[in-house]
Symmetry: C2
Subunit: 463 residues, 2 copies
Amino acid sequence: MAAQSESSSSQSSTNRHAGHATQRIAQWGAAATWRDVPAAVRHEAKRALVNYMAVALAGCTDPTLDKAVRVYQRFGADRSAGMIGRCERFDMLNAAALNAMSANVFDFDDTHIPTIIHPSAPVAAALLALAQTRPMTGEALLLAFVLGVEVECRIGNAVSPEHYQRGWHITSTCGVFGAAAAVAKVLGLNARQIAWALGNASAQAGGLVETLGTMSKSISVGNAARNGLLSALLAADDFSGPDAPLEGTRGFLRVTAAQPKIEALTDGLGLEWSLLSNTYKPYPCGVVLNPVIDACLDLRRDAHWSLDDVERVELTGHPLLRERTDRPAVRSGRESQVSAQHAVAVALATGKAGLAQFSDSAVGDPSLRAFGARLRFIDDPSWPVESAQVAVVLRSGDTISRRIQAARGSLAAPLADVELAAKLHELAAYGGSGVAPQPLIDTLWRFDGEADAAVLMKLACAN
Amino acid sequence: MAAQSESSSSQSSTNRHAGHATQRIAQWGAAATWRDVPAAVRHEAKRALVNYMAVALAGCTDPTLDKAVRVYQRFGADRSAGMIGRCERFDMLNAAALNAMSANVFDFDDTHIPTIIHPSAPVAAALLALAQTRPMTGEALLLAFVLGVEVECRIGNAVSPEHYQRGWHITSTCGVFGAAAAVAKVLGLNARQIAWALGNASAQAGGLVETLGTMSKSISVGNAARNGLLSALLAADDFSGPDAPLEGTRGFLRVTAAQPKIEALTDGLGLEWSLLSNTYKPYPCGVVLNPVIDACLDLRRDAHWSLDDVERVELTGHPLLRERTDRPAVRSGRESQVSAQHAVAVALATGKAGLAQFSDSAVGDPSLRAFGARLRFIDDPSWPVESAQVAVVLRSGDTISRRIQAARGSLAAPLADVELAAKLHELAAYGGSGVAPQPLIDTLWRFDGEADAAVLMKLACAN
């Protein structure tokens, strides 16, 4: 019974200072047009989708996806939606789930810096699934994508940093709202229905940090896309939700963070854009390793010495770097993605730092393990986390060092458009789907002029 | 990147005092047999299923279900599974979701007293969906049901009371684990796979109290059944999860409760049974109203007075009764379920307290509202919540009162088997599906001898 009596009280006790945040977001979403989106944000949306396609084309053949495809395929109503880089067909809910899972399975997808949300996977996957069953323009899809990312990142801002620290996998928990908002927009729902879509999403927000590093993680990321899409489809049929699913007394924010910043939901809405805080990884590693790998690739490029000449490697950076990446004895590719010893060894040895260098087979090379043992950490709390210095101390006594102030891929040194395109080329080859990268890239850069958004998935599916 | 570095640390930092609770539950589940289940627990499982069928037959035609059926039906791979009280067919995931939603839509389903979980809906719905696609005996289904309820209620015990108070809809958040465990058992998974099923479920646990009273609530209850079933199907294909999804540092317990009682997961496992703390509501109301309604029906039965003779009604009970049910101006059937004013008025006026008496149309009767205004609460903290006294003060000066020590349906005064059967008859008629109740009841009382568990759903579906 408590259930019932709680319900009425919690619904009427929305914090007045919150200013009805859910309703304001819904009204903003319903009214927003492509003209309201600044040029820089429009372009960032395309960049995010290029990166999304790249990581999805890499992840689509991972064993996690093979298993998920096998099970999810048993539950598809029709074959109306495809999967990036694969030939199987699904209904749109399952396609949304799988295309979010594949983009995130290596954690190589984009990162919204204030929240560490990987924003694109849930939102893009939901929209691309719907676009295969319902006519929409590229512009409409891009607008919905921008709005979806905005909603999920603002919710993330409101619960950060406590939410993730406590153990919520923020990409999944906030992603479902982003997917719901994006689909609600592209379906043309009114403000009341958009709020219901967010309410329906609130009933489905989940995902735990404890599952990271296991296949289970992918379920929650897939669910964020699938259930966000479902939330909006239900809202379109007037399946109604609470008035304040976000800011209410027992709404998402207060339940998953003791001190939510409710104003973060709406402050500067329509003026400040979360996509402008979005970044793309150059390497499939924890971001604190980015400057380390930058330095190692740089050192290797100019090297007049061989690994055998090296006495030790000194790595200077913020203590967080050591705390998160001091892992000398890695046993799996996944673990190597957060090992400074492995990253330094493989980057100096091969001059590369792609998925192949952080795979199970790369980890199996004993010479890399041996070289990694020569790494020494030097903590310096005065260094920003996006910086690091690598010093190679040779047996001859000489030391060659590189200091990176702002790693490639950070907000201060973002990947250029051509680098994102190159990432898509490289990851498409890695995934081995046979999908041609260039037509995808060309289509995305001019996607706002595309009359039929479905063309993107036609290019992205293998056959 | 934080995501990745967190992952390894969290997985290795399971609390040692927790004694690997997930693994111990999984081992117990894998080994348990029907012979291990005491006779009283076996019988309680059947009683829970009778009650489950009753509430599902009532809820199946609610507008919430009509809408959900319309949307979910678009996403069904096949028509292998039916819905209780309806003729549409679905794949088993969607059938599981819908059969959990319908059983819970009125909050008239069973209540596990220590946690206020409605335990049967997610677990039974998942099992009955699977039973339509895979041969199993009634005994196998009942054993899996007992284990599933045990797992979900133990998880609920470990996070109560904080979890629900904070705003987690505990039926949904814990139900997904129960459904996963139950299906894992009936699929014959080994202990390792059962633990994975729980890990896959941990990635999908969600549901907020803020959604109660709206349609959104039903999504999370449906998801508990659907996603629990999916978790076990994935685990059967070796889709792997974390080692300690429950007790881990960033596992379900610690993330959703600051002070979880981890020992509650395993203390007395196999010796103490949660089903013995399960109760069934005689009235579709908040449980604190049960003694009030008992008293009113009693008073009405012997009444030598009419409502017009009544000066006022004095209601004595624990202050919680007033806090949760002082609602003089109800506007909907749903709200009337937690209104003492409406409950007293309708029970004294009609001598009944079924779903029809707590419907939108019952609330529309102005004479009930007027009579409800004559109610006075008298708080007495010394009264247990399962007790209450109703005193009818007549204009003549006479007072007639009834004191109820333990309400019908409480653990101290459980509904008898015949009362549960009568509830099924009454609710089947209310739902109007045309499903014949008696064959269902007869089948359930002897379900452990049933060679083909699928027979139950053949009897329960309309056609």
